[in-house]
C-alpha cells in the first residue's frame, strides 16, 4: 500500500487544518497512554473523596477545578479520554467488519442476497442511530460500558454496508474483476482480495471521521446515564453531573464538554484531510 507515500502526505499537509487535527489526535492518544504519569492526581480516578477541596474553581493546582466531591477534573478528563477512545475503537472494530462483509456480499453477489441484505440495512438506517442505541441499552439489564459499545455498534454498521455496497457496485464490472472471474477465482477471493483493497481509502477515511462521531454518540449516551457507571471517569457523565450545578460551578461541566469537542474535532479534521488526500467521497 502506498498510502503514506511522500506525495500523498504532502497533499495532506498542504491543509493546515488537517495537520492541526493530526496534532490534536496524536496529543490526545499520548495523553491517554501516559495518563497515570502525567496527571497530577491519578488517585482521583476511583472512589476518592476530599470534601475540604470540593467545587474549587480552576487554579494552578487544579487547572480545570475540582468536582463536587473534591476530585481533580483535569485528571478525570484525561482518564475519561481513555474510556472514550476505547469505546471508539471497540465499536468500530465490531461495526466495520460486519458492515464491510455485508456490503461486499450485497454488492458483489447481487440478486437475492443483495435484496435481502440491503433491505435489512435500510430498515436499520430507518431507526435514528441514537434512538436505536438508547432502546437497546434500555432493554438490556443494567447500563455499563460494554452494553454501550454493543448498542452503538448495532446502530453503526449499516453505514459501512452502504458505503462498501456502493463502491462494490461501481467497480464490479471493471476489467480486473472480470479477469479474475475468468481465471476461476472464488467469490471470496474476488471480494476480499480484489474489491476490498479498492475500498480501503474510503474505508480508512470514514473510520477516522467516525472515531470522532462514535465518541460523540458514546458520550451522549453516558450523558443520559447510560454509559460507564461511576466512579469510572466518563466525559459524558461528568458533563451531566455538572449540568445540575450550573451556572455557579460552570467548570464542572464545561471542561469535560470541551474535552469531547476537542477530540471529535481532531478526528474530524484528520478525516477531512484524508478525504482530500485520497480524493474519495464518504
Amino acid at each position: 500500500m502506498n498510502i503514506f507515500k511522500t506525495k500523498s502526505y504532502y497533499k495532506f499537509s498542504r491543509n493546515p487544518l488537517s495537520v492541526i487535527g493530526l496534532v490534536i489526535v496524536t496529543f490526545v492518544v499520548l495523553l491517554t497512554l501516559f495518563a497515570p504519569y502525567i496527571t497530577p492526581f491519578p488517585e482521583h480516578v476511583g472512589p476518592f473523596t476530599d470534601f475540604a477541596n470540593k467545587s474549587k474553581p480552576p487554579s494552578w493546582k487544579n487547572i480545570f477545578g475540582t468536582d463536587n466531591i473534591g476530585r481533580d477534573i483535569f485528571t478525570r478528563v484525561i482518564f475519561g479520554y481513555r474510556i472514550s477512545l476505547i469505546l471508539g475503537v471497540v465499536v468500530l472494530s465490531i461495526a466495520v467488519p460486519i458492515g464491510v462483509a455485508m456490503g461486499l456480499c450485497a454488492g458483489y453477489i447481487g440478486k437475492k442476497t443483495e435484496l435481502v441484505l440491503m433491505r435489512i440495512t435500510d430498515i436499520f438506517l430507518a431507526i435514528p442511530a441514537l434512538v436505536l442505541a438508547l432502546s437497546i441499552i434500555g432493554l438490556l439489564d443494567r447500563p455499563n460500558l460494554l452494553y454501550t459499545m454493543m448498542a452503538v455498534s448495532m446502530a453503526w454498521w449499516p453505514w459501512y454496508t452502504r458505503l462498501i455496497y456502493n463502491i462494490t457496485r461501481s467497480i464490479k464490472t471493471e476489467g480486473y474483476i472480470t479477469a479474475a472471474e475468468i481465471m476461476g477465482a472464488s467469490k471470496l477471493h474476488i471480494m476480499f482480495q480484489e474489491i476490498l483493497p479498492n475500498c480501503l481509502p474510503s474505508l480508512l477515511t470514514k473510520i477516522t471521521l467516525d472515531l470522532g462521531f462514535v465518541i460523540l454518540v458514546g458520550s451522549s449516551l453516558s450523558f443520559l446515564g447510560l454509559g460507564a457507571q461511576p466512579p469510572t471517569p466518563d466525559l459524558g457523565t461528568m458533563v451531566a453531573k455538572g449540568a445540575s450545578v450550573l451556572p455557579d460551578i460552570w467548570w464542572f461541566s464545561l471542561f469535560p464538554g470541551f474535552a469531547i469537542l476537542i477530540v471529535v474535532l481532531g478526528f474530524n479534521l484528520v478525516g477531512d484531510g484524508l478525504k482530500d488526500m485520497f480524493d474519495v467521497d464518504v
Binding site: 430507518a126 435514528p128 450550573l246
Partner: protein
Amino acid sequence: MSATQYFLRRTFISIIVFFGASIVIFCLARLIPGDPARIALGPFATQEMVEQYRVALHLNESIFIQYKIFITNLFQGDLGISTYTKRPVLVDIISYFPATFELVLMSVTLMILIGMPLGILSGKYKDTFIDHIARIFSLLGVVTPSFLWAIILMLFFAFLIPIFPVAERMDEALDPPKIVTGLLLIDSLLEGNFKVFRDAFSHLILPGLAIAMPAIGNVARLTRTNLSDIYDKQYIEFARSYAFSEFKIATKYALKPASIPTVTIIGLDFALMLGNAFLVETVFVWPGMAKYGVEVILAKDLNGIVATALIITTFYLVINMVVDFIVLLLNPRITLKD
C-alpha cells in the same frame, strides 16, 4: 412514472420499512439476553409478579404469536400499559409528542434560516474572511455534542445575559391555552393569547437552537459546495452577460438548484435532530417524547421503550417521505425510474 405513481410507490416502500423497523424493535425487546419481565420489575420482585407480568405481555407465547398480537394491538391504537406511568402508553405519547414536535419544527426552521444564508455567504464569497468564519462555525456545529451546545447556550443566554428562560415550555404563572393541537404556539394563537405565544416562543429558541446546531453546520457546508459548483456553470455566466442583477441571479438561478441537496440533507439530518432532542430535552427539562423516552429507559419500561422507538422511527419515515416529495417539486426533471 407519473408523480402519483411515484407517490404511491414511495408510500409503499415506507410502509414496508415501517414493518421491518417494527420487527427489529420488537425482536430487540424480546430476544435480548435476560428475562425482560425480570429486568422490568427489578431484582426484588417476587416470582409471582414476574409470572404475572409475563402473562400480561404474552411473553410465554412463541415470538411469532407475540409479534402478531403486538402488531394487531398497534393498529387498534393499543401500545400496552406503561409500567412507569401506569397509564396506557398511547395516552402518554399523545401528551408528550406535541412538545417534541413543536421543538423539532423550531429546530428545522432555525436550521434553514441560519444554515442556508451561512452557506450562501461562504459559497458566494469563497475563500474570503467571511467564508472562513462561516466554515469554522459550521465545523464547530458538527463536532460539538448537542448537550454541550445546550449548556453553553443556557449559560450565555439564560444565566449570563438573562434574555431567554431556562426550562419548561412556558412560564408557570401563565394560564396554558386549551389543548387543541398540543402545539403551544398554535393553540395560543387560536385563542388569540399573544402573551402565551410570546412566552412559548422564547422558551423554544434555546433548545431549538441547541438541537439545530449540528444540522446547521451540515446545511451550511452542503449549500456552500453546491452553490460554488453552480456559480461555475455556464448558464450563470450567460445570465450575467444579459446583465441580470446579481441578486436576481442568486435568488432565481443559483439558489433553487443549490437547495435540492440541502432539502435532502434536511431529511437525513432529521435522524440526528431527533436523537439530539433526547439530550437537549433533558438539559432544558422539556416535557417531550425524548424526556419521556429517557425516563422509560431508565425505568426499564418495556412497552414504553418499544413505543418510543417506534413512534420516533415513524416520525422520521414520514418526514423523509415529505422531503422526497419536496425534492420532486423542486426538481421536476428528477428521474422517477427507481
